[in-house]
Subunit: 348 residues, 2 copies
DNA sequence: CTGAAAGCGCTAACAA
DNA sequence: TTGTTAGCGCTTTCAG
């Protein structure tokens, strides 16, 4: 068949062509490509090397993977790529994977279960060797199914129904540190802002830990102080105005604990727009640190998670499964330690 | 052959199995999968649908792509995923691609030419249909070669040697806006901080535009004010201290123009550490906006680029090539308009 | 040390 | 309306 004059893709060179030009069989080329030249004629080897260079030949990974049933590729799906939390994790995953010779396909679920679902199936269809996912928590069935063929590692968010390696942070301890810190600075009326916490384990854990800490410290508490919200400015503004209008005697909180960095940013932004001073009018403490948290005025006090290391660990766990001598070990859950970073947003 | 007891991957179900169970040929299944059931027996269709559901069958994308010579996947390589500039672009690319039915493989070159090189070949080996790249500028040969088989779109950074669609921002105009603004606020001694600008077109353009603007306004100028640096705190600190120690009469600049957001963040951070007030001690204006630039104290004035739209556009151009009626059009370079966003870091 | 041949899972003429 | 057949580009026994 003749090559179409306008066709976008010129005929790429195949192993057969290399074989012909080098005057050997495809098998020999294949062996060469796979480093099996222990017992290969030095002359043949040399010739093949030359022909390959000359033709600029690169093996087709699709064909190879189809035959070998391995792609040496792992997929990673993060919840929201605009969140520094996700990008740091990605860097952690990437470095470890690369060092081990695996490729990475990155996907951004955008906190949308449907999008996540699409990406999971796309990756599975592409026959990835493994999956690392910071899941929305709404596709557990699919993830479990993928996990039957392909090792999966969960990051940040746990899903007890699925038996897989999981990397998280000790949210309870982090919240404890946060509340202890605020209390030590004299706060006794502490509100908490969180994204909706159904389906998402760390969010739920943080809310529960907040409630526990409030109880143990014998702090004041009102249902209205536990606010579930999205990060839109209008929403945050409304909720903030509501709790801050509660009136001073035991009604208005003096501090706000934000359950993740997105919330923290929004809260700080809105507070600023409302002309409220931090921490004079109200203190702020966030869960999760990020590069420029100290650039905000005032620099915001946070509970930091070792995000990069969490990415490393997730990749390491996955690689272990991918290269494991059998039989496979029981799934483990690794919990990292959070760390309080004192800056200026809580007073002192 | 018997399935190995410990083998990680259970035998996945293939089209042949579906065919057998449904009592039809593989071709029929294939037709079904590809939506060619116009002239298919309603009964067969029904049966196939059932068997597929029953077996949880998913076609192997590797096999399909090998045969079709299309992966419906485009690769995107960004310079630095920790940079909000990159992530916004990614979102733009992603949305457009998804809407057009293409998959996206994301890679982070980390501003490292070697890493970039690896990713480009990896993507090419995986037979991507197209590539969008914010290149380091050090792999032009490779990119040109890929471009012979596969449409490439350059984003943010131009490479004149390669004939491809390119999406950029009008750096010259942006810089002009920046300098004009500072001048209008009374600054006549303006320094510029930039990352090393060899290989990277927008950086070079910005430096040239800065020099041109300085000349046209008849501003004071000293070689030392044009500083090339990395974003490490130590480097920035040293350079900053140097120019600020120059002495007041025409030596010490009153304003600093930062050529990109990474530089801006570092400069602001170091200024803060040095106890210098912005804009009282020195004004700051940055190229490129980002979500939380207004959270900094003072909120920093910037020249914003429509990053999300640039991502959209890059993807759109690529899709056009991928779905084009032939013959292909000549490569175009699209230039987006920057926009000055006045905040507080330049005085007034 | 190297080659022949079969086959990975799918699609696409061409027949029927 | 459906089946047969021949590959896509590579790897991998099995022979020699």
């Amino acid at each position: 068949m003749v090559q179409d004059a306008y066709s976008a893709k010129p005929m790429p060179v195949t192993i057969a062509e290399v074989a012909r030009k080098a005057g050997v069989s495809k098998s020999t080329i294949s062996r060469y490509l796979n480093g099996l030249y222990d017992h290969m004629g030095a002359d043949t080897r040399e010739r093949i090397s030359q022909v390959i260079a000359e033709l600029d030949y690169r093996p087709n990974a699709l064909a190879r993977s189809l035959k070998q049933k391995r792609t040496y590729t792992v997929g990673a799906i993060v919840a929201n790529i605009l969140n520094p939390f996700s990008t740091s994790i990605i860097r952690g995953i990437e470095d470890t994977l690369k060092a081990a010779g695996f490729n990475l396909i990155l996907c951004n679920a955008d906190d949308d279960p449907a999008k996540e679902r699409d990406y999971i199936t796309m990756l599975a269809d592409k026959q990835i060797d493994g999956l690392i996912i910071n899941t929305t928590g709404c596709n557990n069935d699919l993830i479990a199914q993928v996990n039957r063929n392909t090792p999966v590692v969960l990051i940040d968010r746990k899903v007890p129904e699925i038996q897989v390696d999981t990397v998280t942070v000790d949210s309870a301890k982090g919240v404890r540190q946060a509340i202890d810190h605020m209390v030590s600075l004299g706060h006794r009326r502490i509100a908490m802002f969180t994204l909706p916490y159904d389906h998402v384990s760390p969010r739920l854990e943080r809310v529960q830990a907040y409630q526990a800490a409030v109880a143990e410290h014998g702090l004041d508490f009102r249902e209205e102080w536990l606010v579930q919200t999205d990060i839109e400015e209008v929403s945050i503004t409304a909720k903030l105005q509501h709790i801050l209008a509660l009136g001073d005697k035991a009604g208005k909180p003096t501090g706000i604990f934000c359950a993740n960095n997105l919330i923290t940013m929004s809260v700080v932004k809105v507070l600023k727009k409302l002309g409220l001073a931090v921490p004079a009018d109200v203190a702020v403490l966030g869960f999760d640190d990020w590069e420029w948290a100290e650039l905000i005025e005032p620099p915001v006090t946070v509970v930091a998670q070792p995000v990069y290391e969490m990415g490393n660990k997730a990749a390491t766990l996955l690689i272990k499964r991918l290269t494991a001598g059998r039989p496979p070990k029981k799934p483990a859950t690794i919990m990292f330690e959070p760390e309080l970073i004192r800056r200026k947003s809580c007073g002192e």
